[in-house]
Structure formats: structure tokens, C-alpha cells
Amino acid sequence: MSFDHTMLYLTAPEITLALLASAVLLLDSFLKPSQRVLTYIATLLSLLIVFMVTFATHVDSSLMAFDGQYIRDPMSDVLKLSLFVLMAFVFVYAKDDLRRRGSERGEFYALGLFALLGMMIMISAASFLSLYLGLELLALCLYALVAFQRNSASGSEAAMKYFVLGALASGLLLYGISMVYGATGQLGFAAIAERLQQGQVDAVVMSFGLVFVVLGLAFKLGAVPFHMWVPDVYQGAPTSVTALIGSAPKVAAFAMAMRILVDALPSMQEQWQLMLIILAVLSLAVGNIVAIAQTNIKRMLAYSTISHVGFILLGLIAGTTVGYASAMFYALVYALTALGGFGLLMFISRQGFDAENLHDLKGLNERSPWYALMMMLVLFSMAGVPPTVGFFAKLAVLDAIIRVDLLWLAITAVIFSVIGAFYYLRVIKMMYFDKAECSEPLQASTDTRFALSLNGLAMIGLGIMPSALMSVCASVFA
């Protein structure tokens, strides 16, 4: 393996973050519990630094490093930059939540940063090997985070389920990778694509491999029928961790799907398209319908995530650059929206009380009109009500699949969205028209309040001017 300094240049974001995450971990072990805020500040600073490094070294074309293990292209840059922003929100929201639970330990920040590193590696993976490395790094951090509150039974149970099912999914994914390797003799995505292009590859083995690989992908995204972990983990984990799991990893999973399906297996598009259609329709149906029956809001949001994954898949199904751009737009918008939702849930929770059930939101408007408005914007965005950004995300995806003549799929998606609108609107109704069951004032630190307002207003701001983000998404696939 040859080595030169351009590799360092290209991988600078990952290297920087690895160093900074280790530094945060080290720093934290020297701090007293009362100085924990320093870890928090160091974490946010790390994000800022790595953001600047990534931005400063951004590339305009696709460049490889480490013998085809690592790829740096505009898509990875945009996704990573947005991950930093999303993670910053996660940390800001989590700080209050952790402190309230009495479990503000530095490991949260370190694990969060390492999870971020795993996501970045997934995004920049150019071969199955590096992809798997990133995936596992992310997964291990998340398993630990779900069980972060050690004395919580539901947290441990959720972590256990997540771990076992995750291990199963990893095993299946590895098996699929070995099939693909067996058929093509390659692990690099570009090389696999090239080999498939040339022909002389056993189609049956490849199909076998594809099914397993898509399964691994579906598990990561949380698409039906590989979604069973999602509600339990969302509900069992501390809300701060749910916010993490529910947002940034979806963006990484989108990147993973792009790398595997579009970079490595474009010649099998017909097959994976059909598989994704099945997954998407099931996700839309199950996600939206089952969400109606939920009384726990975290569980409801879990099913809502599942339905949104269906929409992200729709963009991939289109199989066009417009489709990929719309899926990316959707993933980014959804991650930000979900963060706002979980952030507000944490905001409503108090000492010794988690806002978990729908009726905890009753009369939020009386308690805090401004944050009720923010919550309404978030829910409208999830439901896809104009002029919030969620509407344009849905519009872009639907537009992409209608362009490839999958009209029935668009209609199906819209019908399930209408069903889904019900449970979002129900929450809004509770916030505005029902009597509050508790009148305690809501408390949060200034930075949380600021972040929540920014997050809520982003729904409407991006909705009024969707073209900026949309054109960024479109440009990376141009």
C-alpha cells in the first residue's frame, strides 16, 4: 500500500474527529462531576473544529484514498457537514435531559462523538470492508448509549433487544457481503460495479447476496419488516439517546444505501428497485397505521420514523439523480424535524418525570405558547403541511417517482400520508384545545431554548426557501 500526504488531506475530518473524541474522553476523566459542563463545551468545540476542517478541505470531485477503501466526494462532504449540525443539536438537547436524570457522564459525549465517527466512515466508505467497520463502530456506540441509564430496566431491555437483533442483522449482512465477494472477487464498490458490468458473474449468487445486503440496509434504516427493534428502542432508551438514534443515523443509512445500491450494484437496479418498493410500501403502511394506536409519544414517533423511511426509500426507488437528491433532501429534513420533536419532548419533561405519553402534551399552549408553536411546526413538517419544509420534502420525492411513471406508488404514499396526518394533528389538537393536566412552568437552559426555537423556525424557514438546501442536494448528484 502506497502512502502519501493527500490521503491525510482527504481523511482529515475523520482523523481530526478521532483525535478530538479521544481528547474529550481523556479530558472528562480528569474532571469533577461539577465540571461536566466543560466536557459539553469541549464536545461542541470538537464539532465546530471538525466542521471547519471538513469545510476547508471540501472537494469538488470524487477522490479515493487507502487503496479504494475511502472515498471523498461532494455527497459525503454535504452529508458530513449536516451530521455535525445535527449532532450539535443532539448534544445541546441531551445536556439538560441527562442532568435531569442525574446521569450526565462524559461517556455520553465521547460515545456520541465515536458514533459520529462511525457514521462518517459509513458515508465515506468505498468498500464493504470500511463500510462494515463504520457500521459496527456506530452500532456499538448506540448499543451502549441505549443502556446508558444503567438502573433503568426498560433501557437495558431495549439495549439487549437492539444488540441481539443488530448482531443478527450484521451477521446476515456479512453473509451477503461474502456472497458478493464470492461472485465478483471484489470488495471495493467501484470494482464490483465494474465486474458486474463485464458480465461472467453468477447471477444466482449475486441475487442471494443482494437480498442479504438489502436486508442489512433495511435493518439499519428501520424499514418494515426489519423494523421491530425501532419502537422498543425508541421507547426504552433515554429520550436524549432516542433523539440521537432517530436523527443522524438515518442520514448515514441513506449514504450506506447510496454506496451499496448505486455505487456498487447499479446493474442490479431492477431487482433492488422491486425489493425497495416492497419495503417502502410496507413501511408506509405499517408505520402510519400502527402509529395511530400508540399512546406513548416516543413509540408514536418511532412508527412515524418508519413511515418516513418509506419516503426516503421512494426517492431511491426512482433510481434517477433527481430521485437521489430528493431522498437526500428528505433524509436531512427528516433528521432535523425528528430532532426538534425529541428536543421538545425533553423540554417538556421535568425532574423525575419523562414526557412519554400523549396526554403529557395536553394544553401545552397554555403552559408555553411559543414552544407549543414550535412543536406544531415540527408536527406540521412531519405531516407534510405547507409551508413547512416537510411538505417540500414529500413533494420532491413524489415528483421524482412520478417522473419515472410510478404513479400508483405516489398515490399509495399520499394515501398513507393522509392517514398519518391524523396522529400528528391529534397531538396538535391536544396541545391547543385540551386542558393542561399540569401547570408547572417549563424550564430549560438558554442554549436549549435557543436551539429549540432555531430548530422549530427552521421548519418554516426552510419551507419558505426550500430551494437553497434542495439545490445543494441536487448539485452533489449532478
Partner: protein, 650 residues
């Protein structure tokens, strides 16, 4: 200042005033509200009169320019633009002048009303809307103005929101205007469809090419496109200008405060239909069928609505029916292609009818808002200025020689006489008989209110006095044009080249040409008029009114008893209201109730909406049980799904 800025200022100033007064109506003091709106309208009026002078005396060039493009849809340009020519100049001068008078008058009339600021905001907004309507250079903006004046009219008829009858009246006005506007928008749609443009000039230039095109509406009958367009547009005008059978809203609109009865429901808004048809003369000229239709509707309105005026006892309603009748005269003028005469009558009518309404309002103020003429009498003793101005208005209305109405009405009658259009024979008799009727109801009102016995109660009599100067000043200012505007304007408007290129009349329709040949100066016109039947009919009406209501007051009761069936028909306004109320209102309520209970409650709410919601809820409660919480079930689902995918794809 260039012309474009002048026009923009004329239009936007009242809007600005309306916005300021309207948005801050709860906080600003009353005086500030009227100062803001009055100064904006006064400035707008000053500029309009200046524009009027430029066009009428200095032969200003026609201004036709797009100000703002809203959007372009499939080649159709939707724009805001101004077309200012002599017709527009006349209209904006009249509109802003009357509006200004009404603004000033309102200070006195509404002085004790709690909705004072709101009222000023509305009338300024109305002025803006009306200006947009008359200055438009395209159908879309025309429609905007058309609807905007309708909206303000609706708001003002229901100004006393707590009064049941006012709410009923504004609902009625709104719904009846919907019927007219439905025709109007269909007409505009037809214009867009056949001409591919909404711009006046483009449409007018293209119209002759389409004169032979026809379309079939139902069955095999084929209609000329232009006839269809013209009749549809005129249906809109029938709503707005209250022509039979869409006139029913106008008498009820008297529920609104008197200043707006003068401004909106007499002088300006109701004449929008007249203006529109005159503006569209290049289209109407190409369709004799549409012209005949216009003529017959107008003639019917002119006579039969006047008759109802004789039996009304509410001072404002008598004048309202008189407005209907006079609008009928204007429409008749349009029907015989004497557009200029229509506009001329519109202008004179605007002044003297606004005067009559405001004078009536002055009486109403004196009578402590009692409007029943049976409680009045001999008011001239208490309100001399009101008395004199009302008399001037009445003389102008009946067409007494020398007064404004004489010239315009005489021109219309002569024009109808000269016309050979189908229906003009009927129209001639109608407008002629209408003259007698007009004089009868006008002087009946005049004598009962201002002369005869004092029938008011003592309390009212004690407080009866002349209205304050803010009320009488507009009366005096309006009385002046009510006397002189006819004599001054007849020559340039009817016989001069003023409307050349603005109003188009085909040579074979040009009835005003006949008049032009016979016109030898104002003096001769007046003398000639005094030898014609209309004059004698008017005198006859005046005399009859005097004889029946002054000389032998008990006679009116005798006649009423003897002609009871006829009286009842008139008192029921020919049954239009009952018919509409029973058939249309009742019918649509029955239909609505059927659709509501059968269609909405059972089918849509019950089956479609709640049914699907219930079934999804049920489905959801089943599906959620798949999520058992057991790890091995989860793993099982994953493996089964994997196997299914494998069977499918491998």
C-alpha cells in the same frame, strides 16, 4: 410628476387611507380616522379632477400601460394595468368627487356611531376598489375591482352587525350578486378562451374577426360567440347594476347607513355595470341580439321599478326604487347604442341621486333615525337648506327643463325614439311612461316629507333642526352640479368628438347622430324639450302628486282601496322576493339539507370518512399486536421476511 405616477397616486391614496384607518381602527381617535381618509380621498379627487381637465379640455393622450405582471399562465398574461381615456377620466372625477362629499357628510351622519373609524376605512377602501375597476385595462383587474366593490358593499350593508335585517340584507345582496358574477366570470372565461387575452385593446381589435364564429351551448342551437360573451358579461352587470330580475338586493341594501346608500348604492358602484358595457362597446356593437336583450331588460326595469316607488313609505326605499328605475334608463341607453348618453345620465344621476340620498339622510338625522315618511311633514320649516337642495335634486330627477337630469334623460328618450333595434318600440313606451311615474313618486315623496301636516310626535318636533355644516356643505356642493352639469356637459359628451376611439358605435346603430343633426345649442334643446311629450308627462306626474297628496290627501286612500289588487302587487314588489325566497332560497335549503343529511352525514362522514377512519383504527389495533415485545418473535419476523425475499428474488 409623470402621468403614470399621477394615476398610481389616485388609486393608491384611498387604499393607504383605508389601510391606516382600518388596521388601527381600535386605537386611533375618531377625528384622526376621518382626517386621514378624507385627506387621502381629497387629494385623489383633486388629481382626478386635474386628469379630467386634461382629458376633457386639453385632449390628453390615452394612457394604456401595464404596471405589474402578476403571472403568465399558458400564454395568458395576468396583469395590473391602467387604461385612462376620456371615459375613465369622467368616471374617476365623478367617483372621487361624490366619494369626497360622502366622506365629509359622514362626519355629521355617523357622529354618534361606535363604528366610526371602521366606516371611514370601508368607504375609503370602496373608493380604491371603484378606481381600480374603472381604470383597469384588462378583464382580470376589472373583475378584481368588481368583486372588491361588491365586498365593500356587503360589509357596509351589514354595517350594523347587530341588526337582524341588516344581516339578512347583506346576505341577500351577496348571494344575488353571486348569481350575476357567475355570469360575469363565465363571460371573462369565454373571452380568455376565444381571444386568448384579457387585455381590452387586444380583445377589441380581435373582436371583428370573431363576429362569425359560433358555438353550441346545448343541443344543436348555435350561438354567436360574441352574443354569448356579451350576454354573460351583461348578466354580471344586471347583478351589480340591479336590473330585473337581479334587482332584489338594492332596496334591501338601504339597511346600510345613508352615506353609503348615496355613494355605493346610488352614485357609483351600481353604475359599474353601465360603465362596463360602455367600455365593452366594441364587443356589444357586434351583437344586435345582446343589445336587444340589454334594451328590453333596461326598459322593463325603468318602468316597473318606478311603479313600486309610488307605494313605498320608507324615505330611503322610495329613492332606492328611483335608483333602480334610473339605472334602467341608463341600460336602455346602452341597448340602443347611445353609450355616451348612458354615461351622461350616469354622471348627472350620480350627482342628483347622491344629493337626494344625502338630503334624505339629513332629514333622517333630524327625525332621530326615523325613516317612515308617514311620520314626517312640513319639514321645510325646520330644515330650509335640506329642503331647497332636496327640491333641486327632485327637479333634476324628474327632468325639469334646465336641470341636469333633463338633458340626460331627454337624450336617452330621443335616442330610443330614433333607434330601430328590435325591442326599441317597447322600450320607447316604457321610458316615456317612466317619466310620468318618476315625477309622481318623486313629488309624492317631496310633498309628504316637506309639506302638509306635521305628523311627527312632539318630542321629535322639539329637536327638529337643520343639520350641521358638515352635512349641509356636501348638499350644497352636490346641488350645484345637479343644476348645471347637464347643460355644461351635454355638448362635449354627446355631440363632441370626446369619446371618439373610446366608445365604438357602428354607423347603422348611431342614434346619437340623429340627435346631433337636430341639436342647435342648449337653449334650443331646452325649448324643444318643453314641447315634447316627456315634459308634459313630467308635469302631469308633478300635478297628479300635488293633487292627490296635497290637495285631496284622502284621495290616495280611496285610490288605494279601489285599486287594491294592483296596490298589493306593487306592495309585494311583483312577488320577486317571495318567489326567490320560496323557490331559490327554500329550494337550495331543501337541496342542501338533503345533501347534508343524505350525502354528507351518511355517505361522506359516515361511510367514507368515519368509516375509513374506524376501519383503519381497527386495523391499527390488530397490527400493533404483531409487536409482541418478545425478542424471538422479532428475530422470527426477520428470518421469515428474509426467506420470503429469497424465494421471490432467487
Amino acid at each position: 410628476m409623470d402621468m403614470k405616477s399621477i394615476y398610481l397616486t389616485i388609486v393608491l391614496l384611498p387604499l393607504l387611507g383605508a389601510l391606516i384607518a382600518g388596521l388601527t381602527c381600535r386605537v386611533i381617535p375618531r377625528a384622526l380616522a376621518h382626517w386621514i381618509t378624507i385627506s387621502s380621498v381629497a387629494l385623489s379627487c383633486g388629481l382626478s379632477l386635474y386628469v379630467g381637465k386634461l382629458f376633457l379640455l386639453d385632449h390628453q393622450e390615452v394612457f394604456n400601460q401595464t404596471i405589474y405582471t402578476w403571472m403568465v399562465v399558458d400564454g395568458l398574461h395576468l396583469q395590473v394595468g391602467f387604461l385612462v381615456d376620456t371615459l375613465t377620466a369622467v368616471m374617476i372625477s365623478v367617483v372621487t368627487f361624490v366619494s369626497l362629499m360622502v366622506h365629509i357628510y359622514t362626519i355629521g351622519y355617523m357622529s354618534h356611531d361606535e363604528g366610526y373609524q371602521r366606516f371611514f376605512s370601508y368607504i375609503a377602501l370602496f373608493t380604491f376598489a371603484m378606481l381600480m375597476l374603472v381604470m383597469s385595462n384588462n378583464f382580470l383587474q376589472l373583475f378584481f375591482g368588481w368583486e372588491a366593490v361588491g365586498l365593500v358593499s356587503y360589509l357596509l350593508i351589514g354595517f350594523y352587525v347587530k341588526r337582524e335585517s341588516a344581516i339578512f340584507a347583506n346576505m341577500k345582496a351577496f348571494i344575488v350578486n353571486r348569481v350575476g358574477d357567475f355570469g360575469f366570470i363565465l363571460g371573462i372565461a369565454a373571452v380568455a378562451m376565444y381571444f386568448g387575452s384579457l387585455d381590452y385593446v387586444e380583445v377589441f381589435n380581435k373582436a371583428p374577426q370573431l363576429s362569425d364564429t359560433s358555438l353550441s351551448i346545448m343541443g344543436d342551437g348555435s350561438w354567436s360567440v360574441l352574443t354569448v360573451i356579451c350576454i354573460l358579461l351583461f348578466v354580471g352587470a344586471m347583478g351589480k347594476s340591479a336590473q330585473v330580475p337581479l334587482h332584489v338586493w338594492l332596496p334591501d341594501s338601504m339597511e346600510g347607513p345613508t352615506p353609503i346608500s348615496a355613494l355605493i348604492h346610488a352614485a357609483t358602484m351600481v353604475t359599474a355595470g353601465i360603465f362596463m358595457v360602455a367600455r365593452m362597446s366594441p364587443l356589444y356593437e357586434l351583437s344586435p341580439t345582446a343589445l336587444s336583450f340589454v334594451l328590453i331588460i333596461g326598459a322593463t326595469t325603468a318602468f316597473f321599478m318606478g311603479l313600486i316607488g309610488i307605494v313605498q313609505n320608507d324615505i330611503k326605499r322610495v329613492i332606492a326604487y328611483s335608483t333602480l328605475s334610473q339605472l334602467g334608463y341608463m341600460v336602455v341607453a346602452l341597448g340602443v347604442s347611445a353609450y355616451a348618453a348612458g354615461i351622461f345620465h350616469l354622471m348627472t344621476h350620480a350627482f342628483f341621486k347622491a344629493l337626494l340620498f344625502l338630503a334624505a339622510g339629513s332629514v333622517i338625522i333630524g327625525m332621530h333615525h326615523d325613516q317612515d315618511i308617514r311620520n314626517m311633514g312640513n319639514i321645510r320649516k325646520y330644515m330650509p337648506i335640506t329642503y331647497v337642495t332636496f327640491l333641486i335634486g327632485t327637479l333634476a330627477l324628474i327632468g325639469f327643463p334646465g336641470f341636469a337630469g333633463f338633458f340626460s334623460k331627454d337624450a336617452i328618450i330621443s335616442a330610443v325614439h330614433a333607434s330601430s333595434l328590435a325591442g326599441s318600440g317597447y322600450a320607447y313606451w316604457m321610458v316615456l311612461a317612466g317619466v310620468f311615474v318618476t315625477a309622481l313618486y318623486s313629488f309624492r315623496l317631496f310633498f309628504i316629507v316637506f309639506h302638509g301636516k306635521e305628523r311627527m310626535d312632539d318630542h321629535t318636533r322639539e329637536h327638529l333642526k337643520e343639520s350641521p355644516w358638515v352635512v349641509t356643505l356636501p348638499l350644497i356642493l352636490l346641488a350645484i352640479p345637479s343644476i348645471f352639469i347637464g347643460a355644461l356637459a351635454i355638448e362635449p359628451l354627446l355631440f363632441g368628438p370626446l369619446f371618439e376611439g373610446v366608445i365604438k358605435v357602428l354607423p347603422q346603430h348611431d342614434v346619437l347622430e340623429t340627435l346631433r343633426e337636430e341639436f342647435h345649442g342648449i337653449g334650443a334643446f331646452v325649448l324643444h324639450g318643453m314641447m315634447e311629450p316627456p315634459f308634459w308627462l313630467a308635469m302631469g306626474g308633478l300635478f297628479t302628486a300635488w293633487f292627490v297628496y296635497m290637495k285631496k290627501p284622502q284621495m290616495s286612500e280611496d285610490i288605494k282601496q279601489r285599486l287594491l289588487p294592483l296596490y298589493n302587487i306593487l306592495d309585494n314588489k311583483y312577488g320577486f322576493d317571495d318567489f326567490n325566497q320560496k323557490l331559490f332560497a327554500g329550494g337550495s335549503r331543501a337541496l342542501g339539507s338533503l345533501l347534508w343529511k343524505g350525502g354528507d352525514v351518511v355517505l361522506i362522514d359516515g361511510l367514507a370518512v368515519n368509516g375509513s377512519a374506524k376501519s383503519i383504527g381497527w386495523f391499527s389495533s390488530i397490527l400493533r399486536h404483531i409487536q409482541t415485545g418478545y425478542l424471538y418473535h422479532y428475530a422470527m419476523v426477520m428470518i421469515v421476511a428474509l426467506l420470503a425475499l429469497l424465494f421471490w428474488f432467487v
